[in-house]
Amino acid sequence: MNLSKIQEIFSAQSKNYLILFALFILPFTISLSQISSDNNLLSPKNRLKFGDYLYKEKDYLRAAGEYKEYLKTSNNDTVQFKFANSFFKIGRFIEATDNFKGLFFNSLLSEEARLMFYESNFFRNNFKTFRELADQSNYKTVKYHDEIERLKFTTYFFDDAILPDENIILKPFPDSVQSQLSQFYYQKKFPKQKSITTAAIFSAIIPGAGKIYTGEIGDGITTFISTALSAYLAYTNFNADHQFRGWLFTGLTAFFYGGSIYGSAASAQIYNARIRFNFENEVKVYFEQRDYFLPKIDF
């Protein structure tokens, strides 16, 4: 074999091995290190990726689980926010408030976290506590001050606290909703209620009249007829000297008469409860349709 031929063989082989190295071995060694971290499905990076995917799919409880594990090893305000927000989305407001509090200081999302903290407290439906919180300076937010004020005054529509002046309540709200909110205000302040005493007195004078006063026309007429009929039967039986039957129907008359007065008073109370319930429902739907005038914050 001559030298040139040996050189030819070696150069051909070297070329092949060079190609092999360039195409496969080099990227293989680079990606091998990547694979060993990528293969760990529970690595912080993968947990975050999976958590974000679950969050997007609205599987908030599982997303919260992934974010919780991620936050054990890494500090990330956005993830902390989404972790807290996951609880908010599934209605676990206590956990949401606790976790939003963790972003109050030294965080770029401090203002947003404070807003969500207030939102979570609002939806716990303890409106008196919410108003107290809204006045606490250490939780206040500068950026979302108006939103919190609106929420604070919204609470007055949902509980029995003394209503502040109309101008104070309506001030934080936009002009476009002032007239409707004003209507709600007057409905809340001067509800069209029925008097329990009046209903009872009406029925004492004419059995069933109190029920008609509260809108229960059918019940009122039935009460009147049953009381009148049993009174008439008592009268006729006494006249015919049927003592037992006379007293039986007298007792029945007293039964219906007493029931009529009591029932009219109870009916007035139920009427008032119905007014309050319908009002609260109407207000709730109105605010829900407008997202309680709150901005949407999400990532």
Partner: protein, 140 residues
């Protein structure tokens, strides 16, 4: 292809209707049994002597009369149960007045008209706690 499109469409609509999981759930065995009809329960209220006597009387009423004359009450709870519950919540006198009012409402042919909640059993829901004259107890 059509089947896949249909399945995809169904899948998308199912997503929009699916419930969000709020808590970690456990496995559950679903009972194969069919739901039974509603019954009167022959219980004795042992919370006081008076209520025990009244519940015995109520049981006797169920056994001799109510279980035989059919299901006539349009309300739930029935009038006899309402009476006992009313006495338990208030007193004999007030409970009797509540029962008198309930009886009158029961004989009203035109009851309903949107003032009562209609249960799946087609009965009007009318619990005694709405009639105690304590407004905070009313659950509308």
């Amino acid at each position: 292809m059509m089947a896949r499109l249909l399945i995809s469409f169904l899948f998308i609509t199912e997503i929009s209707c699916a419930q969000t999981e709020r808590v970690k759930w456990e496995s559950q065995q679903v009972s194969y049994e069919l739901p039974a009809l509603q019954h009167h329960y022959y219980t004795i209220d042992k919370s006081s002597f008076g209520l025990s006597i009244l519940s015995v009387a109520r049981n006797a009423y169920y056994f001799f009369i109510s279980d035989l004359d059919g299901d006539n009450c349009a309300f739930s709870p029935s009038c006899s149960t309402f009476y006992l519950q009313a006495i338990k919540e208030t007193s004999v006198f007030k409970g009797t007045l509540m029962f008198a009012d309930r009886f009158t409402r029961d004989i009203n042919f035109f009851k309903g008209s949107g003032h009562y909640l209609l249960l799946p059993s087609n009965k009007f829901f009318d619990p005694p706690y709405n009639y105690t004259l304590h407004s905070e107890k009313i659950k509308y």
